[in-house]
């Protein structure tokens, strides 16, 4: 694997909510490699969105980084407190594609003006140059007749086209890292594939490093080199795409993969994870997933598991990987996938 472009070390993020403290990110470490595409998966409220917003200082004002580092380009982003220090990073170094293209664009400005605004903010370039660059970016994201379309307003675009515009805004200033926060959730299934392949193509062409946030494992399988599974503000398992899909180790990952409905299977009840995610207002003892985990060991309720390496690229935070742990067989369907994985690697 290549160079590390962004390195998060033991990040803790807390939100003050009317006097109560919510511990949203609980000591997460992550290395992001140049040119890779990493998918962060997890259920709602697991902190995947909030985590990546830390890279751009986009969390709400009541959230603050309690401890930890976010190293990027020789700087510690976790130390930035002034908005003006964030401005060159946002859009210039790290850019974001938002979830809902229908509402992400300013309805009163032409899409050309909205792209130019980003270009003018980050590049020393005059209006003329920005205009030319805007047109070429529009062409890059697959919008025909850029001259005419640039003069149109968001309401004159379809959802898929708007998402292309949002992507154009994100890549207009040639950022190094592109964070895609559920980029296809709000789109038709037929459009989703187009948008994903567009992002993929741009990544190759512009040498972007991509971070996808999603709960759609189908999307993940399509685009990701690596997968990080988040649960209750922590990465519980991280590994290459195949490793997570075919050889998952954390019981939460098992549960997540089991929840995937199988096309063409009838009469089987759909699997769902029992219980609800833990309350992050209270300090969590042991493994956060233990109360919902049928395979939980006694120690899971007492001490937080460290990461155990499965392979150089694959590690998981579960006591089951400890040499002293009893041998536990994963659920049937996971064993089935595993078998499939080893049959056609």
């Amino acid at each position: 694997m290549g160079d590390v472009i962004l390195s998060v070390k033991d990040l803790n993020l807390k939100f003050d909510l009317r006097g109560r403290v919510l511990h949203a990110i609980r000591g997460v470490s992550l290395d992001l490699y140049k040119g890779e595409s990493l998918a962060i998966v997890g259920e709602s409220g697991s902190g995947k969105s909030v985590f990546t917003k830390c890279f751009m200082g986009l969390n709400d004002l009541n959230g603050h980084i309690d401890s930890g580092e976010i190293l990027y380009d020789g700087k510690d982003l976790a130390k930035i407190t002034q908005e003006k220090d964030w401005l060159p990073i946002r859009g210039g170094e790290i850019a974001m594609v938002m979830q809902d293209p229908m509402t992400s664009l300013n309805p009163l400005k032409t899409i050309g003006a909205q792209i130019e605004e980003a270009i003018l903010l980050h590049q020393k370039i005059d209006r003329h140059g920005a205009h030319a660059q805007m047109l070429s970016v529009l062409k890059d994201v697959g919008i025909d007749e850029p001259e005419r379309r640039a003069r149109q307003y968001p309401h004159e675009f379809s959802g898929g086209m708007r998402q292309r515009v949002v992507i154009a805004i994100a890549v207009a200033c040639r950022p190094k890292i592109l964070i895609c926060d559920e980029p296809t959730t709000a789109l038709d299934v037929t459009i989703q594939a187009q948008i994903l392949s567009l992002i993929k193509e741009l990544r190759d062409r512009l040498g972007l490093t991509c971070v996808y946030i999603t709960h759609d494992l189908g999307v993940v399988a399509n685009v990701a080199d690596r997968i990080a599974v988040m649960y209750a503000g922590d990465i519980v398992e991280i590994g290459l795409c195949e490793e997570i899909f075919y050889d998952p180790r954390h019981p939460y990952t098992w549960a997540l993969l089991s929840s995937l409905p199988q096309l063409g299977v009838r009469g089987q009840p759909l699997f769902s994870i029992k219980g609800t995610p833990p309350n992050l207002y209270t300090e969590i003892r042991g493994d956060a997933f233990a109360p919902r985990n049928p395979y939980a060991l006694e120690i899971d309720f007492v001490e937080r598991p460290p990461y155990f390496d499965v392979s150089p690229t694959h590690k998981a935070r579960t006591w089951l990987l400890d040499p002293r742990a009893p041998k536990i067989d994963p659920p049937v369907n996971i064993r089935a996938i595993r078998a499939k994985g080893s049959a056609n690697p």
């Binding site: 990073i89 309805p107 980003a118 004159e156 949002v166 805004i169």
Partner: protein
Amino acid sequence: MLRYILRRLVGATITLVIVLSIVFVLLRQMPIEGYFENYDKLSPAVINARLESLGLNDPIAVQLKDFFASLLRGDLGTSARYRVGAPIGSIIAQKAPVSILLGLLSMALAMTLGIPLGAAMARSKGKFWDKFGTLFIVIINAVPSAVYYILIQMYATDLLKIPMLFERGNPVTWILPVFSMSLGNTAYYAMWLRRYMLDEMNKDYVKLARAKGVSTRKITMRHVFRNAFVPMIQYLPTSILYTVGGSIYIESLYSVPGMGGLLVDVIGRQDNPMVQAIVMLYCVIGVVGLLLGDLLMGVVDPRIKFAKKEGAR
């Protein structure tokens, strides 16, 4: 666009006819004593002759028809009691400019005070300016305007050492009427602008602008403010009517020789033709304001189109 305006104008004319008919009929229900200065001393024959000459003995439908017929000829009639026999058109032409000028000044003042106040309130939600503005808005809305109009006149004239009554040639005396008249609208603009700006600030496009690297200040100015202004425009007609309403009281308070004072005056004297003419004028102002508001909205918001869709999409 032109078709739209024409359609609206037809609608406006219908509104006008209805309003005028109601006013006309209501005024005819008033006791006839008001038409005479010394009703008790007149013989029934004289009274009847007078009513006949005013056309008041005809059936109401005929009177209404006559009224609209003369209106169509551009004849507003003549004043019956205020300035007997004088054409109403010329009386209004004499009085209107002061009122219009005062009204425009007060609206301009309300905008220059209310819009920054509303924006400041939205930007400092829950902090000083927001609380200050809320207090102001609550006071203006809760206290009957007559009360603070009078308080302002009483104390401010003393404080600023300026004359109590309006003089056309003395600009200092314009301050208080204009200021009093603007208060209601200032609160109104501030309240709605704050609300719409806060609405807009939570929208996704603001988050995207933030992710683009636009500073909060610029987001507020370039993105939020303009979007918040679109729904604000619908309050323009209402605020014009507020101004007209306020002017009626304030003009008599400061004895401004304008339309507001005139209306109060002629209602008291039962000068029906005058009342009709002035009400009609106010009605026109209101209807034109509404039309203006709608058209302005189309200018500001590209999503609103009046014409048929052009071109192929």
